[in-house]
Symmetry: C2
Subunit: 373 residues, 2 copies
């Protein structure tokens, strides 16, 4: 069995189920990957992620390079799995996105990007080779190419320049020796321009990556533009390789992505919004701080089977949130990730049963009712 | 079977094991009670407290009165157990200590204490009756009398005045109708003056409380003074009632207390220090932030069987602590409370086996070695 296998596909539609096989185990797709930026999916124990059946998590190259350093992680743990005690698959990003969005004063060149750390202001040069070196040290199962990602909207000329650079960098990444068991993904750039994306995909194909991801989306364009773009573009991507829509998104974004044939998603939304008191529920996002939940004895989502919804009331969680107890963020993070992973399980079942369109419509109607918001 | 029964006592020594029976279950003593100030033992899920076999937790009347309010807790949950989803025993303090230590601008009178909330500056009058009313609403299994607690050192005259007031307030507390299943404890004041304490105890005895606690210790006096005082005074306290040393303390303080015949302890130390990166271990406190743990692959305490020490390294936890991840505080809090509860289990076994003095000495030697500090 190879790295990726499609195991079922909708009769009429692009949504599909697959299996990614890695040295740390298998991943059923479509999959949502919880984000563990600095070696921890915020507020959650690794045990809890296992409990809710997270099959792969994401680590951030930029953050881990700065603290505690990839060399320390390799020395201490033989890589990120050992360092954080997580023996299921890990995907690491390239650091590219964070270098542009988080660091101060970054300066581009053909070689790479010089930037100042957002922590201590120290200067660093990130190159495709350094990104690969870090990810090799981290030992992630899936490695991302170092790319440039211009914010949208952008002029076509700018998008082309950026894409050309990303392609030259992709080649340098591909030439770098990773660990044998690591799988390198190419990143398709080109904004919302179909012809640029197509050209990028074709040139990446020549480098033969293990999977392809769509970068530079969900970075400023309208939501409908992203959906429309995916509908047109994703079916052109290789059918026998995993397709990864980076940094996306809300539950509805994910279902829209699945409908176009995307296999992998990641997003900080479920954990970040949790820390602001937002529960993602079957009836839309619920802001637990609201006065109306003050004496509400229902669980956050009465339709949810998670350990939070089985035990705690909105009233209690609202209190915890209002007084700033750690437990508030912990419960919301747990619930939100459980909700995402549970949704993905149901998505996979629906695709297997060829009922995905019904599931999608039913989910959409309930979610948009916002009856608890 | 009554509220409290002594089940074993050292042949030569004051340490004893007992069982407290409440409407929410039994508590084996000597017991350590994790502190859940605002309805949450900081960073821990209720499930985790059950896992580590916490048999009783503490709630703070002052905090819960201010937010979310005792009436809301009663309306929503029928009391604190229902509100926070904890069906094992709960002890609530009287609010007295916090009124004096946390609030701004407090003013004493015979009636009670007027104070300004530390949260919004609003004015409140706490009286013995209000403290009882709040604790009745909270439905705690063990209720504490509202007392005044002067900081040490204090003049004898001041201690006597304070003690007399505490006694008049104790009478008013005793006259208040609590729920049938609630048990009221008297608080013995009198600083380090044995005669004052003795007088206080005798007068409280006439009111016939379910248990007696020692207040006003660990509030400024020297550690040896507290130990010496307990050695002299605790054996004079009723043998057939639980003896509670409030707000104490370090593991060594607790063992010293047990040796004098104390049955119950509570302290924020294991959770508060956890949030500053301190792990309490068999070889003394360990500050995980230290450089020397940077690449240390040992667990926080290699002698500990907790879920943290079974899975995570000092190096990883140090990283989490340094970058300020929630998980750092969660792991340290879990470990520290597990360590305390595990020590109490071993203490009870040692008393049963009449080997407590050996256990105490061995623990003391290892703890004081500080070999990991």
């Amino acid at each position: 069995m190879g790295f990726f296998q499609v195991v079922s596909q909708l009769n009429s539609g692009e949504a599909r189920c697959g299996v990614i096989s890695t040295a740390h185990g298998k991943i059923d797709t479509p999959v949502f990957m919880p984000v563990g930026t600095r070696g921890s999916v915020k507020t959650l124990w690794q045990q809890q992620l296992e409990e809710m059946d997270a099959s792969i998590i994401l680590g951030n190259t930029y953050h881990l390079y700065l603290r505690p350093g990839h060399q320390l992680i390799e020395r201490v743990g033989g890589g990120l799995h050992g360092f954080i005690s997580w023996d299921r698959p890990i995907l690491t990003d390239s650091g590219g996105f964070q270098v542009f969005s988080l660091s101060k004063l970054n300066k581009m060149s053909e070689e790479g990007v010089t930037f100042q750390s957002h922590i201590d202001g120290s200067y660093h040069l990130f190159t495709p080779e350094l990104s690969m070196e870090i990810q090799r040290a981290l030992g992630s199962d899936i490695v991302m190419c170092f790319d440039e990602c211009p914010p949208l909207p952008a002029k076509k000329e700018q998008l082309r320049e950026s894409m050309d650079l990303t392609l030259r960098w992709a080649k340098r990444c591909r030439e770098f020796s990773l660990r044998d068991e690591q799988h390198l993904f190419g990143i398709i750039q080109g904004g919302l321009e179909l012809d640029l994306r197509q050209e990028c995909l074709e040139q990446l194909r020549e480098l033969d990556f293990a999977g392809y991801s769509l970068g530079g989306l969900s970075v400023g364009e309208k939501n409908e533009e992203m959906v429309e773009f995916c509908r047109n573009f994703v079916p052109r991507m290789d059918r026998d390789k995993p397709r990864y829509l980076m940094g996306v998104g809300t539950p509805l974004d994910i279902l829209n992505g699945v409908a176009t044939g995307i296999d992998m998603f990641d997003c900080v939304l479920p954990t970040r919004n949790a820390r602001n008191g937002q529960f993602i529920t079957s009836h839309g996002p619920l802001n637990i701080k609201k006065e109306r939940f003050k004496e509400d004895t229902l669980p956050p989502d009465p339709n949810c089977q998670c350990a939070v919804c089985q035990r705690y009331t909105r009233s209690y969680i609202r209190h915890l949130t209002n007084v700033g107890e750690y437990l508030a963020a912990e419960l919301a993070s747990y619930h939100n990730l459980f909700f995402y992973l549970d949704m993905m399980r149901k998505v996979r079942t629906a695709i297997h049963n060829d009922t995905f369109d019904d599931y999608h419509q039913t989910f959409y109607n309930a979610y948009n009712s916002n009856q608890w918001s």
